[in-house]
Structure formats: C-alpha cells, structure tokens
C-alpha cells in the first residue's frame, strides 16, 4: 500500500479528534491534560512515522525536497514541544490554551503536508518506493494484512 494514502488516512482520523477535542476543552478545562494526551499521543506517533519513513527518503531527492522536509520537521518539533508543556501541567486553563494551540498548529501543519509535501513525494518517489514505505508503515502500526495494489 502507498504510504501517502496511509498518512492521509491518519490525518482524517486526527481532524475529527481535534474538532472534538476543541469542544471538550471548552466544556471541561480541568481535564485538559487527559483530553489532550489521547490526541497528542497519536499526533506524536504520526510525526515520528513521517520523519523516520517518508521524510528521510524524500529529503534525499533534491534541495527543494530537503527544504520542505526541514520545514515540516520544524513544525513537528513545535507541536511536540507544546505537547510536552501540556504534560508538565496539572490541567486547567493554561493546559487548555496550550492544547488549543496544538490543534491550531497541527491543522496548519497537516494542510502544509497536503498542499506541498505529499504532492511532492507523490511526484518524485517511484510507486515501488511508496509501496515499500507503506509496508513499513503497516508493520509499525501493526496492521494485520496489507497487499500492494
């Protein structure tokens, strides 16, 4: 399977969770840390998979690709830093505001990937490479059975 499809699938699930997180944070700011943690763990893992699988290969393709990957990795770092700050708080308004900042950063980042990074990867990486990376993604995510198309 193509890794770009899998990563877009992850975005789809995360978009709806971020929508719901924003609502829940308004209703229950005291539990902001627990609410943010379940989405944060998924965003962190998604970033790691992108860094270790797709971005590492994509960055080697051209100077342009390397620049885009660096920019995406900076965004991963900003999101990870904000999530770490939430984990250090007991909850409450400060954690809620940071969590809202994370959803905003993550949406902006996903949009940038969908607009720039993934189309570039689709263009410059051969289908066989994208499929091989997809198989590694499936292994890391413990998906039971995957066939290439």
């Amino acid at each position: 399977m193509n890794i770009i499809d899998a990563l877009l699938g992850e975005h789809g699930a995360l978009y709806v969770e971020m929508d719901r997180l924003e609502q829940a944070l308004q209703d229950a700011p005291a539990h902001a840390r627990a609410l943010a943690a379940i989405v944060g763990i998924a965003i962190d893992c998604h970033s790691r998979l992108e860094d270790e699988l797709l971005f590492r290969v994509l960055a080697r393709q051209s100077t342009e690709a390397e620049g885009i990957v660096r920019s995406m990795q900076r965004m991963h770092g900003d999101i990870a830093d904000a999530l770490a700050q939430i984990r250090a708080l007991p909850g409450g308004p400060a954690a809620r505001d940071l969590a809202l900042n994370v959803t905003s950063l993550a949406r902006e980042h996903f949009s940038a990937e969908e607009e720039l990074c993934f189309p570039l990867a689709d263009e410059v990486l051969p289908e066989a490479v994208l499929s091989r990376l997809g198989a590694r993604w499936a292994e890391r995510r413990e998906i039971a059975a995957v066939r290439t198309r």
Binding site: M1, N2, I4, D5, A6, L7, L8, G9, E10, H11, G12, A13, L14, Y15, V16, E17, D19, R20, L21, A24, A28, A30, H31, A34, L35, A37, I38, V39, I41, A42, C45, H46, S111, E114, E115, P119, D122, G134, W137, A138, R141, E142, I143, A144, A145, V146, R147, R149
Partner: protein, 153 residues
C-alpha cells in the same frame, strides 16, 4: 487515493490510542479522565464506521450474495462498538467506566482485525482500482482531507 488504504490509515491511529488508553486506565483516578478521552476516540471511531457503512460496504454489497454474512457481520460489530462507547459515557462510577472502556477497545480491535484479514482483502478483489480511488475521494471530502487544495491523487 485508495479507500482501503486510507481506512487502514485510520486503523493505525486508533491502534496506538487503544494501547495508550490500556496503559493509563489502571492509574486514572477520576471518571472524567476515562469518559473524556473515550469520548474523543468514540467520535473518530463512530464516524469511521459510518464512512465504511456508507462508502465501502455499500459498494461491495452488490457484488456479494444476498444475505452474505461478510458485510452484515461488520455492520453488526459497528453497532456493538457504538453501544460499547455509550456504556462508557453512561457509566456512573470509575470502575464501570474503566471496565466499559477496556471492553469497547477489545471489541474494536477485534473488529479492525477482521476487516484487515477478511473483508478488506475481499474488497480489494471485488472493486477495481478506479472504483476504490473514487471512494477514496468521497472519503477525503467527508473527512475534510485536502479540501483546500483540490485532489491531486
């Protein structure tokens, strides 16, 4: 984009979150810290089920024999998962919420495994690549993926 691949992508996110919840649930001390995170997960898993029902299952049903258990069983599991999340939401004490949460995670995991090993491979054979891509575009529209930039896949 292939509908089967993006749905597997969603499974990948959920598996990581199931594992995380299973790790933290024993140490949770407030019912809200079970119901809140489970509610976020429910929103994503239940819309995932609805997307499968409306897009993938509706597309493969005409290719299967009338009354085929393949899709019927999966639809029943979707309903059972929804009921499971409802049980978490309606729990009155921490122990009941925790037990209900563990139960729905196990059920959802079992369901995803069934899809990955039985139904999705069958769907890959029944639906042509072009049909799977068309369904993938409908999935992207419903999920708001790539909405701002048009479809490039």
């Amino acid at each position: 984009m292939d509908i089967l691949n993006v749905l597997l992508g969603e499974h990948g996110v959920f598996y990581g979150q199931f594992e995380y919840l299973e790790q933290v649930l024993p140490g949770v001390s407030a019912i809200e810290e079970v119901q809140g995170p489970a509610g976020l997960l429910a929103a994503a898993v239940e819309t995932h089920s609805a997307l499968e029902d409306d897009l993938l299952f509706a597309a493969i049903e005409p290719h299967l024999d009338a009354g085929s258990p393949d899709v019927l069983g999966m639809r029943m599991m979707h309903e059972a998962i929804t009921t499971g999340f409802e049980r978490v939401r309606l729990a009155r004490d921490l122990h009941a919420a925790r037990e209900a949460c563990v139960g729905v995670i196990e059920l959802a995991r079992q369901h995803f495994r069934s899809e990955e090993t039985v139904l999705f491979p069958k769907a890959r054979l029944l639906l042509a690549e072009e049909a799977r891509d068309t369904l993938g575009a409908a999935w992207a529209d419903r999920r708001g993926v790539m909405r701002a930039f048009g479809m490039w896949r």
